[in-house]
Point group: C2
Chain length 304, copies 2
């Protein structure tokens, strides 16, 4: 029996663990895949306050992990597949075990969203990737496409231009949302080409990707682009399928909370990318983690 | 004319500046006193994620300042005394100048709250302090009191025990809110003594503090404690008097926002300690800063 179980060891879960440990709560963090979550799919982070030269995401996460362990909070590598609860007891199920706690913080993060076009399923791992850091080096001197128009797509296109001969950014609009600084950097690169107002219709090839079929949404003209890699960054989907019917989620599956990060279930809180919010950044996930731990602490040990 | 003016250069204002700079917004930060805000009144911070050994607050703020300047955002040392606005233009007044902007983020922070007892005004700077880092070394080998029961009071009592011969923590309750880890550390110290269920009634002395009159709230017994220093950490009050009649504030003067950090005035946002919120930490202030900059960016340059 723990006082608090935290589901997920990304920046939100780790910061919640840091605060919970400092509050003196007996706390367990459960992580299904890898400490750090989505952010470690990027190589470097430049907008986390306190690191003026930027920092490798692995290094930042390692620091956070150490900080959590310093306050006596354990991270266990098990996937949470179900949560059951009543007002006094929460049961957190992994395929191997059941854990008990007074309160739970869900910080289960999010994953890359699929593009949902023909050929996508077929070529995953054979030219299609959702992780530039993981797969970028495989495309040395090759021509590749990046699909998306947010910060993530721009960042990864810049990163991929180190390896690739040519990078096409395919974006369905003519303007970019997000950071001007990234757009400018991408525009300065001689390797990066912009294919704007365009959507991918199909990803084609024999054994591996060889061609991407593109439609211009303004002219409705279809063209084909030869490329050996397609990197897809078109948003995220929350890792909340294990919560269906348990907590109130929004239409996209993100957990609905109040400003103190309480969910629809008493004693269950949510933090970070899995939560319905306007902005999802490492620093906002960390802020969430602190608030969720505070709310959980208040719930577990209300100040008399 | 700027696109964005940020009032205050604490962690919230600096993170807002970092994000605004990366968004490519022409941004000015105005700071009345000192870059860093309240947090630099503490010596070290242990619960900011990414620094497992803790970090001196001055060093952390210096890193944040550098990071903001790296993205081309300027910090100007001027106090904001008034904001006037209509839907399209914000006028930000210092005693010397008027600045114009499309949007404003108020990140003006908070200050130590007074205890409000007899003798407090008289002995400020003559034994009474609201800043352990500033004044602790002056009380080497002396007996001092710390008033308060939150994290800040405990942290500062621990810090002050390096210098003082004896530290009394006077707290109106028998239990401590906040971090167990700090309470345990204070209890382990041979120099720290707890005076619980007790309130300060009067601070007395000739030229300087010599005695504190204390009442036990359970027994109603009054006692006197000889001490040469009184450090007061009984909460904060928001630096929002310049906003009165301008924005909706709560009864304690904190700025009311929605979850996207919009205030009651269109194009004015709030972040950090000056905002009505359940928890006020450096990491939550930074999270606020990112969200406020995002909302300001959306307001200034909506994505078409």
């Amino acid at each position: 029996m723990y006082e608090l179980i935290i589901v997920g060891a990304g920046p939100a879960g780790l910061t919640a663990g840091l605060y919970a440990g400092r509050y003196g709560l007996s706390t367990l963090i459960l992580e299904k895949a890898v400490v750090g979550g989505q952010i470690i799919l990027s190589e470097k982070i430049e907008n986390f306050p306190g690191f003026p030269a930027g920092i490798e995401t692995n290094a930042l996460i390692e620091k956070m992990r150490k900080q959590v362990e310093n306050v006596g909070v354990k991270i266990l590598m098990q996937e949470v597949v179900k949560i059951e609860f009543d007002n006094t007891l929460k049961k957190v199920f992994s395929p191997e075990e059941v854990f008990f706690a007074k309160a739970v913080i869900v910080a289960s993060g999010a994953s890359a969203r699929n593009l949902g076009v023909k050929g996508e399923d077929k070529f995953i791992g054979r030219g299609i990737s959702y992780c530039a850091t993981c797969d970028g080096p495989l495309f040395k001197n090759k021509e590749i496409c990046v699909v998306g128009g947010g910060d993530r797509a721009l960042e990864e296109a810049i990163f991929l231009s180190r390896y690739a001969k040519k990078v096409y950014i395919i974006h369905r609009r003519s303007e970019f949302r997000g950071s001007h600084i990234l757009e400018e950097e991408a525009k300065r690169s001689k390797k990066i080409n912009f294919v704007l107002d365009s959507v991918v219709e199909e990803i084609m090839g024999e054994d591996r990707v060889s061609t991407v079929k593109i439609k211009n949404v303004k002219t409705h003209a279809s063209t084909s682009l030869n490329c050996e890699g397609v990197f897809i960054f078109v948003g995220i989907q929350p890792n909340t399928t294990f919560l269906k019917t348990t907590l109130n989620l929004d239409k996209d599956g993100f957990i609905i909370t109040d400003e103190n990060l309480k969910t629809s279930a008493e004693g269950i809180f949510a933090a970070g990318d899995c939560r319905a919010a306007i902005l999802r950044q490492v620093v906002t996930a960390c802020g969430d983690g602190a608030i969720a731990a505070h709310s959980a602490h208040q719930y577990i040990a209300p100040y008399k």
